[in-house]
Point group: C2
Chain length 181, copies 2
């Protein structure tokens, strides 16, 4: 009986760890998952510019993208994002001549955090913007540019899998990849 109870606890913990269920406050503010830095890393870009007149910044920023591990494993199997998929975009400042590094860029402090969440209970994908401390996860209004741009250019289900080198190959093999341009 003790083993049965222990097994139940072990399986419950394992399931909790796997679901990565997204949480919101009563006011609809998204709660940033505390352990997102232990989620699966998808890729990092430096100084990515989407507008025609972007140009290089003097202090370019890194963008790290993480996804909850359960969604990652589902994507690897099917090329599709399951419900409750949570992508975290962590934007960090950069620096150059740090320690022995003589050129190029290394990552420094967090500047902002955004989330892209697939949640059927909220009507599908939604974007949330946090401050640098990971607080105040306010949803972007549906009229925000991020929705139309992801809709038009995201290669898989409004997400930019074209920038995630490992998942890009998976999606192509599974037939879920759409060439955006």
């Amino acid at each position: 009986m003790i083993f049965r109870a222990l097994l139940f606890v072990a399986v419950s913990i394992a399931m909790l760890a796997q679901t990565g269920s997204v949480a919101y406050s009563k006011e609809g503010i998204m709660i940033l998952p505390k352990d997102y830095r232990e989620w699966t890393f998808l890729s990092a870009g430096l100084n990515m510019v989407y507008g025609e007149n972007g140009g290089s910044a003097a202090n370019p920023r890194f963008e790290n993208v993480f996804v909850n591990p359960a969604a990652y494993r589902q994507f690897v199997k099917s090329g599709k994002w399951p419900d409750k998929t949570t992508l975290i975009l962590e934007i960090r400042a950069s620096d150059s001549r740090v320690s022995i590094n003589k050129d190029g860029r290394v990552q420094t402090n967090v500047v902002a955090i955004e989330a892209h969440v697939k949640d059927a209970a909220k009507g599908g994908w939604a974007f949330y913007g946090f401050d640098a401390s990971g607080q105040n996860g306010k949803s972007f209004p549906k009229s925000a540019d991020c929705y139309s741009c992801h809709e038009k250019n995201g290669s898989v289900d409004t997400t930019f899998v074209q920038f995630y080198p490992t998942l890009r190959e998976v999606a192509k093999a599974k037939g879920t990849y759409r060439d955006s341009e």
Copy 2:
């Protein structure tokens, strides 16, 4: 009895997943962990140059660093790397005008993979170099520059924690951080 057996299996799987034990062939070739892309991401740099005359490359490379999750959690608790810590350096080529990205760099194919492994059974830390497909993990000879440079400049236990923004703060708080320059 069946539950006892199931529990044993569950715990064994959990322990295997946590230890991240490093494996070698009979000839001492390190076997690249198949799931290192699901390990904990530490940071990414672009075009990092260590020599005085490095200069920028025309096609700069990203360096992603991953560590086995059990070692990460130990480090967060203590500021120290446990035995069997395995750091994976994944070097990727980069590209610019991909999809909607008009400037800056995104990550593309793997160019090479290196590992830095703390293994008391092998006399301490050792470096291994793999080809782009993750094969042939040959150890670098102890006379290689990487050993003396990490020894001299690594801020924690011969590792470049100064480049890992989350662990840098942990090590400073735990008193294990050494300013290298």
